[in-house]
């Protein structure tokens, strides 16, 4: 038994203390969090734009009078649909590699590559979250706004979006958690995130057990933490609905 702990201790020292190897974990973690947060923000911006285009099209297109506005909306909706189909129809790792080897081939800024890939990917999923949020608002709310004299955009801005945003907040927070785990494939394109950090230690020490378990443990703790946060948020929101 004592022997076991002694080995464990020496393994631990080898993996994390010697040559300051723990910095692979901490720096990797900071890269992972940076990529997750930035892609999440990018995803929300892209998702919001896509959702506005798609729900505007669904709600208004048939009623619109012909003209430049109608044609623009049709084109925007067409592009949005292609975006959604392509992004959701291909693996995120492949998208990441395309970003790295083709689009940003000249750049060695790993975070930029990862944020672009994951942000663009997340945007497609966030778009559907926002759209379902917008669609979940009773049409009576929309009509009440219009009957007071608000235009389409004003009604969306003052009446529909605030309610829709509240109803999708938990789903958005969930998307953040999904992204956190999804970014673990960033190592494919030489980005040193948390997973890659553990992998580097594994390669240097020929120890598999410690570094991988440490990495898994850190992901798990973060996911549990953020899930708790989402639950608290959900409860708060429900309370404010009364």
């Amino acid at each position: 038994m004592a022997e076991f702990f002694a080995t464990l201790k020496s393994d631990f020292i080898k993996c994390f203390v010697t040559k300051n190897r723990w910095t692979f974990i901490t720096e990797g973690l900071s890269t992972t969090l940076k990529i997750t947060l930035l892609s999440c923000i990018m995803g929300i911006v892209i998702g919001l734009i896509l959702a506005i285009v798609r729900s505007t099209y669904d709600k208004n297109y048939k009623e619109m009078h012909g003209g430049i506005g109608k044609s623009l909306l049709a084109v925007a909706n067409f592009i949005a649909n292609i975006y959604l189909t392509v992004i959701r129809g291909t693996p995120v790792v492949v998208q990441l590699m395309i970003m790295y080897y083709i689009i940003f081939a000249a750049s060695d800024n790993g975070v930029l590559v990862a944020v672009s890939a994951f942000g663009i990917n997340s945007g497609a999923y966030v778009a559907e979250i926002f759209r379902s949020g917008i669609m979940s608002i009773d049409n009576g709310q929309f009509e009440a706004g219009r009957s007071l004299g608000f235009g389409y955009i004003q009604t969306m801005l003052f009446i529909v979006f605030p309610q829709a945003f509240k109803s999708v907040l938990p789903a958005l927070a969930n998307e953040f958690i999904v992204l956190l785990k999804e970014t673990s494939v960033a190592g494919y394109v030489a980005i040193q995130d948390l997973t890659k950090g553990g992998d580097i230690i594994r390669g240097a020490t020929y120890e598999t057990f410690m570094p991988l378990l440490a990495v898994a443990g850190i992901y798990l703790v973060m996911v549990i933490f953020f899930t708790k946060l989402v639950n608290i948020l959900e409860r708060r929101l429900r309370k404010s609905e009364r």
Partner: protein, 246 residues
């Protein structure tokens, strides 16, 4: 000088590619200050007609003149006309994310560019009129149905409309709350507001209406004073309808 506030000519509205003729040729003039009550069996097109008046429902054909302007003309900015046409819905449609005060002041502040203080002062005096001045900070979910509907009326009145449209304003209410909403509407009528009211409250129609319109199958089947409609109905359909509801 014509004193018609609303004039409807040959109004038709078809749904589902023309298979449902919700409105099948309506002609009507509404005078300033007049109270019109629209009655008729379920599905006859009452809501569709009322909602066409402010273009929430886009007519298939026909014209709707509001203050002499054909608001169905694509070149007309419908939003500015809607500001002058208040609407009250069966399901209230208050904004649940805003306090009562904000529900009422949102449109006057954003659309009429009223200073916040002015809008809030006017909101308070309107709330006083309907006996709800103490609920300004509450949220819609904290109110009873009757209170919600009175707030919805106030919200529309805050825009200082020239005409008020009511689509079955008391149909979603518990019976004991119907009276408080009808009282507000009666008062409004006495003050000279032009009103078009779809309702199943025949008592209200008899007491308040200047003119009662009986619709059936997307058409105006019969029209007259409450005395004529309820005392001396001519159309067999109207007689049949009144036999069921009275």
């Amino acid at each position: 000088m014509n004193d018609n506030i609303i004039k409807v000519c040959g109004l038709k509205k078809h749904f589902v590619g023309g298979t449902v003729k919700a409105l099948d040729g309506i002609d009507l003039e509404i005078k300033r200050g007049e109270v019109i009550v629209i009655i008729g069996p379920s599905g006859c097109g009452k809501s569709t007609f009322l909602r066409s008046l402010n273009l929430l429902e886009k007519p298939t054909s026909g014209n709707i003149f509001f203050n002499g302007v054909d608001i169905n003309d694509p070149k007309v900015d419908i939003n500015t006309h809607r500001q002058k046409m208040g609407m009250v819905f069966q399901q209230f449609n208050l904004f649940p994310h805003l306090s009562i005060r904000k529900n009422i002041t949102l449109a006057p502040i954003k659309l009429l560019k009223k200073p916040k203080e002015t809008a809030e002062k006017e909101a308070m005096s309107l709330l006083k009129r309907v006996g709800l001045e103490d609920r300004a900070e509450a949220y819609p979910s904290q109110l009873s149905g009757g209170q919600k509907q009175r707030i919805a009326i106030v919200r529309a009145l805050a825009m200082d409309p020239e005409v008020m449209l009511f689509d079955e304003p008391t149909s979603a209410l518990d019976p004991e709350m119907v009276g408080e909403v009808l009282d507000v509407m009666k008062e409004l009528a006495q003050e000279g507001m032009t009103m078009a009211v779809v309702t199943h409250e025949m008592g209200f129609a008899k007491e308040v209406a200047d003119r009662v319109i009986f619709m059936d199958g997307g058409k105006i089947e019969e029209m007259g004073t409450p005395e004529e409609i309820f005392g001396n109905p001519k159309s067999p359909r109207l007689r049949d309808f009144l036999g069921k509801v009275l």
